[in-house]
């Protein structure tokens, strides 16, 4: 569980303080970390010691100790010397490693707990019990961010996000699949969606500039209780999806800011098909040429203002009017009329949604 590198660093640090050679083996006698060469020679002694009922013993000029993790033998520690000094030093090292085990387990457990919480794999009573054990506050406001990277298993991006938030141990960073990094962020009192938007921007800018990674960031609503965290996670996931369909110009999407996209996203496909058939009579708006689509989008952007739109498109007013007339002939919708404009706008969005669903099916 603890990496050998950490064990090595630990015993080297302790050797530096106590001037005693140390070695850690697993229960099969394999050397995991050592400060002196030829530690492998003691393999058989280690195996014999593992079998013996003693907790510590002097063998071949070394103090042998057992390191337990909740009554289960985890490691054997060797400390050079047979006197009281070696015994004391060995005891200190055993204590240190046992504490490391506890800390690591807690971190590992927390990570697991959060993953299960996000995926709704826990019973309500388990949430409260385990949260208490892991010292996680229940009634704190939290929000879930999902960060989608372009490349799978982007460790650079994950490490960057971890380092950004690591000083605050109350935020959790984990990954539940290859492309998504999840941040469960605890809010300070007084922090609002505005602050969360800043956090999202910070994540985006940092990943862009530091990890050189193109990412999309989405976040859910702020929840007041631990058990609701999975809801915030689902919302963030959905926001990511909805953003991809309707707001592809944005790198940050907030669930509470999805507007009409959120409504359309919830519609059953059969209903969408019916709607499109009704509006376009079997034809697809995808058949419209690029010029017409650009014109329509510009017209909407400029709040159905003919002169402003024609100015921005660098075309004569009459050209625009002609294009709108042509569109009216083919679809029966006059975009200069509010009712028709809104129908057309929604229809365009529905088509986008249907195209997205189709790509998922394929």
């Amino acid at each position: 569980m603890i990496s050998n590198q950490i064990l090595q660093n630990t015993i080297e640090g302790l050797k530096g303080i106590m001037r005693i050679e140390l070695c850690i083996c697993d229960t099969e006698g394999k050397v995991l970390a050592t400060t002196f060469p030829d530690a492998e020679e003691y393999e058989f002694s280690v195996l014999a010691f593992v079998e013996s009922p003693a907790d510590s013993q002097v063998i071949q000029g070394y103090q042998f100790f057992k390191v337990f993790d909740e009554h289960q033998l985890e490691y054997v520690l060797l400390a050079r010397g047979a006197g009281d000094d070696a015994y004391m030093a060995g005891k200190v090292v055993v204590f240190q490693i046992q504490n490391l085990l506890v800390a690591y387990k807690e971190r590992f457990d927390k990570d697991n707990f959060i993953k299960n919480l996000l995926l709704d794999n826990l019973l309500l009573v388990d949430i409260y019990n385990r949260a208490k054990k892991l010292h996680i506050d229940i009634n704190v406001r939290r929000v879930v961010f999902v960060i989608e990277t372009q490349t799978e298993n982007d460790t650079v991006a994950l490490e960057t996000v971890k380092s950004m938030f690591s000083a605050k141990s109350k935020d959790f960073i984990t990954a539940v699949d290859e492309k998504n990094i999840i941040l469960v962020k605890e809010l300070k009192t007084g922090e609002s969606y505005e602050d969360m938007d800043k956090v999202a921007k910070m994540i985006l800018d940092m990943l862009n500039t530091e990890a050189m990674a193109t990412v999309h960031v989405a976040y859910g609503t702020i929840v007041n209780e631990l058990k609701e965290v999975s809801r915030s996670y689902k919302e963030a996931k959905m926001a990511l999806d909805v953003g991809k369909i309707f707001y592809s110009d944005k790198n940050i999407v907030a669930y509470n800011n999805l507007g009409i996209g959120r409504l359309i996203y919830q519609l059953p496909v059969s209903l969408c098909r019916m709607f499109i058939k009704e509006i376009f009579d079997g034809k697809s708006p995808d058949d419209l040429d690029d010029e017409t689509l650009v014109t329509i989008n510009k017209f909407f952007e400029n709040n159905l203002n003919v002169s402003e739109t024609s100015r921005q498109l660098y075309i004569h007013r009459n050209t625009l009017v002609y294009r709108l007339d042509k569109l009216q002939k083919s679809t029966g919708l006059d975009l200069r009329v509010f009712e028709d404009a809104i129908t057309f706008k929604i229809a365009l969005m529905v088509v986008k949604y249907m195209n997205y669903i189709e790509t998922l099916d394929n």
């Binding site: 650079v156 000083a167 910070m202 985006l204 500039t209 050189m212 309707f246 592809s248 110009d249």
Partner: protein
């Protein structure tokens, strides 16, 4: 040092919104270029396209003469500081600067040398063992710049980098940036939505609106000879006023007359207005009141007569009358 060239580049997002349109610009090697324009004018997208974060939809983007393919930002080696930068809170300045290099598994001695060299350039050697919480905002900014510089980027891309600083610190940071650019001679593109900042930098400035380049020139040129109403207003804010006037030729002077006031048209404008046939017609007039001479002094007062600047534009096209 990178030479960057855009030819008719457009960026249209899949949802039909276009962020950059018909963008053509040559950025010379070692140039300090300012990109300005209101929010949403496409500055950020231009920077992101250079960095490789945003694929271009059409046109041609060359870096050092070679057409770059979309994607692979890590291959372009651009140093970036965007507005919402942050330092890793749990790491010392040294680790902050070297973190990305460590992640990319560069050799230990290369990292150490680069960090020390960079710290020397940015004059932050004495901060290397500090944590971010021990630094003031300006020092943090220097660390962020050092972090962008440590891997010897081809060019620096900065997007509203000094926004989080107070006025005093902003000024210092910008001065340092100018010095640094001269020292290291890297191509530097500085995007800001604050015209005063663009004016301060005093180098070639590109002003954008709705994804298009409107005018290119030094900030001074943009302020004094704007090509259209938008540039005049953007570059001369705060302290820009405008209104419709009628140009009237009297016996002694040419006047710009509105309902409740009239002013003499400055002599340099008279031939222009006459030649273009605007005498007796209505035009759009813009005028400046004094710009705050220094940033600390944000108050504006009307300049004494003669120091105000006047501009005249066609009412329909909003273009400057020439």
């Amino acid at each position: 040092m990178a030479e960057i060239s855009f030819r008719n580049v457009t960026k249209t997002f899949p949802n039909g919104k276009s962020a950059v349109r018909d963008f053509s610009l040559e950025i010379h090697s070692g140039e300090f270029l300012v990109l300005t324009g209101p929010q949403g004018s496409g500055k950020a997208t231009v920077l992101r396209m250079i960095a490789g974060m945003e694929p271009i939809s059409s046109g041609e983007l060359r870096i050092n003469g070679e057409i770059v393919e979309n994607g692979k930002p890590e291959k372009r080696n651009m140093g970036m500081i965007f507005q919402h930068y942050t330092l890793y809170p749990g790491m010392t300045v040294r680790d902050n600067i070297s973190f990305a290099m460590k992640l990319h598994q560069e050799p230990e001695d290369v990292i150490r040398r680069s960090v020390e060299e960079t710290a020397r350039i940015f004059k932050i050697e004495n901060l290397l063992s500090c944590y971010p919480r021990e630094l003031n905002e300006l020092q943090k900014q220097y660390v962020a710049m050092a972090r962008a510089h440590v891997h010897q980027p081809e060019a620096f891309l900065l997007l509203n980098p000094v926004r989080s600083l107070d006025l005093q610190a902003r000024k210092k940071a910008r001065n340092r940036l100018k010095e640094l650019q001269e020292e290291i001679g890297t191509t530097l593109i500085y995007a800001t939505d604050d015209a005063a900042e663009a004016a301060f930098m005093g180098t070639r400035t590109v002003i954008m609106r709705r994804g298009r380049i409107i005018q290119v020139g030094t900030a001074e040129e943009l302020m004094e000879n704007p090509c259209c109403f938008f540039v005049a207003q953007f570059m001369n804010e705060p302290g820009f006023g405008s209104g419709e006037v009628r140009i009237v030729k009297g016996k002694t002077a040419v006047e710009a007359v509105a309902d409740n006031f009239s002013v003499d048209v400055p002599p340099e404008w008279i031939p222009r207005l006459e030649q273009a046939g605007y005498v007796g017609k209505r035009v759009l007039m813009g005028y400046t009141v004094s710009r705050p001479s220094d940033e600390e002094d944000m108050g504006c007062e009307l300049l004494p007569d003669g120091e105000s600047r006047f501009f005249f534009f066609d009412r329909e096209t909003q273009k400057s009358i020439v």
